[in-house]
Subunit: 382 residues, 2 copies
């Protein structure tokens, strides 16, 4: 390894001669790892946790395709199709609609980094882990964060929200539509109009609900909506969907400070995604293959025209250790289900039926596995 090739100095100019000479003074101290000499092997696993879910067959095919350039016109066409697909599943006409090159958390940061400036008042519905994380990020960037804390299982009524708006005069409210750590569906009708009466923007997380629960971004007056690729959409994790209303866009374009992140700066992303009228300029290398997969998952949505429920949250059976049950189902049936998350840890079991995993057969399999688990796991006699 590290064999000096004569071509190097041609390719890299006169400086290269320097390191060709210098190479003699270095040694290979780290050997090629043995584990990497074995072939990659992936178990065949049914993923009925709250996500990621299994990839639909057509998405598997897309993942195996060859690269094209991130700035090729065919790639821009695929990105345009993704934009239209997101507009469809979000039910929005917002021009500022695109995919983020990162997971759901990355989309949340994209929203907060671009919408909040230091000192801005930020109201957060914190009825589970996702609100906690939104509050954490808000604090990192110097916003005035006001969490409305509720026990897991609670949701926010219009009255709860109005009290928070009146008291804290926030520029932004965060709500989670599908609170996947507690199994709560947050209603969304009327919340946008209420926020707008108080000059506040409404940001909604639909990572665990999109495609399983109806959402109407424009009709519900949602200003920023984001979701993930790896839940009901059955695409690989690593990209996420986001859209901004004109009100939200105006807030971004009239900022006094630059967002802390260049990678997530929405003015740059708007350009590379063809959302402004400027020629597209290189910003970062977009995840080409993941975008093929995302395109296919949105195509499936456009074709299927049907939506399924997502995460079924059941109370953890008393007298058992929930971990025993989760492990039993994994070890004896190769099925993933999970326990609670954040405030719901120890209280619930969570079973995801996401996209192509949401079949009657899978429901039967997981119920059968749970029955066996209840028979065989140690029971704590009370």
């Amino acid at each position: 390894m590290f064999r000096a090739l004569a071509r190097a100095s041609v390719a890299l100019g006169p400086q290269a001669a320097g390191w060709v000479r210098n190479m003699a003074s270095h040694q290979l101290l780290v050997a090629p790892p043995k584990a990497l000499l074995k072939p990659l092997s992936i178990p065949n696993r049914l993923l009925l946790g709250p996500g990621p879910s299994n990839l639909a067959p057509r998405i598997l095919v897309a993942g195996g395709l060859q690269m094209i350039g991130h700035m090729h016109k065919e790639m821009f066409q695929i990105m345009d199709e993704i934009k239209q697909g997101i507009q469809y599943v979000f039910q929005t006409k917002n021009p500022l609609t695109l995919a983020i090159s990162g997971s759901g958390h990355c989309a949340l940061e994209a929203a907060l980094f671009n919408l909040l400036e230091p000192g801005d008042s930020f109201l957060v519905g914190a009825n589970g882990i996702w609100g906690q994380r939104a509050a954490d990020i808000g604090e990192r960037i110097g916003a005035q964060v006001h969490p409305m804390i509720k026990d897991p299982g609670g949701h926010y009524t219009l009255q709860d929200v109005e009290e928070g708006l009146a008291r804290h005069k926030p520029v932004l409210l965060f709500l989670t539509q599908g609170e996947s750590s507690s199994g709560v569906l947050q209603p969304l009708d009327g919340y946008g109009a209420l926020c707008h009466r108080y000059q506040c923007l409404l940001l909604v997380d639909s990572v665990a609900s999109l495609g399983g629960v109806p959402i109407y971004m424009d009709q519900q007056g949602i200003d920023v909506l984001y979701s993930g690729s790896q839940k009901v959409l059955n695409a690989p994790p690593g990209t996420s969907l986001i859209s901004f209303s004109d009100k939200a866009k105006n807030k971004i374009y009239s900022r006094k400070t630059k967002p802390v992140s260049f990678y997530l700066d929405m003015k740059w992303l708007a350009n590379i995604w063809g959302c402004d009228d400027q020629p597209r300029i290189y910003h970062h290398t977009t995840p080409v293959i993941s975008l093929y997969s995302l395109r296919e998952s949105l195509a499936l949505m456009a074709e299927q025209a049907i939506r399924l429920p997502t995460v079924t949250t059941v109370a953890a059976p008393t007298g058992y250790n929930w971990r025993d049950i989760v492990n039993y189902v994994m070890d004896h049936f190769d099925i993933e289900i999970t326990g609670g998350l954040g405030p719901s840890v120890g209280k619930v079991l969570r079973i995801g039926l996401l996209g192509c995993n949401a079949t009657r057969e899978n429901v039967d399999r997981v119920i059968h596995a749970l029955q066996e688990a209840l028979q065989h796991c140690p029971q704590n006699k009370l």
Copy 2:
């Protein structure tokens, strides 16, 4: 679409009844996009630009595999193998070594967000676009940025660096090993030791050079090194490699403020990548399929034990418009090459020979294409 399934209210609790009733008040205003009803079709293209490059056959196979959970033990095993692979290609024993869930720019932000605190002095080698971007990000997070500006084509001598260190007393110096916008190879021997004499950490970008040019992270005293997946490694864009020396780790763990990003907070990432001795806790959903591909690309490096030069930068031929040449080669030969970037725009043509694309046959093809282009493109008689 949006057909109410009876199961929804079972799955999502009593609130669901609310939206089932409410659904009647919303209409589908955005129809399924026509473009998504056509099959996905990807042209067969040879990518000889400065990256992304074509995927090696074994990496194509990995991209088509089925999902497993991001928290399954098999996935942690793959992540451990990736860590070892990075330690090998970086030639480092650093325990804090991992992959970032984002592109090269995301790794740069991960480095700067974690290493710099507001007010810290940051010295930047700015001899092309990558230094400009590092300076831009440094400014966004409130560092005192001191760019050492050089014309494209220049590099930094030990003397240049020592002057900057003495003058600005930085906590961090940024250098680009393979300056792919200008074709310059930055020597790295002696720079780490020099920085350490001035209590400064050394951060190096090897996105366009890793695997094509030797690098010895530990022996060269580099404190933070990052690279990309989509260049010589021939993996899809969307992940990047990073490693931190103990000195760098200490700076991170003794910060007074939290980094602005939760997604890129190195303490969380260290945990999920098994770099601390704590049980792994969910942080974000890692890009499982992209990590399969990255694992395979590192396995290829471990097997091949050879490195190739990367980006050949040639002066743009006088009398021609460089765009005509790039377009001619694309339109008539389906080969991507590119022009300059940032300060080198209009001055150079850049031909990438990355990983599996670095064959004699491809060199012949691109030379033939360039010869034809010079014959057929309009020439501006001077």
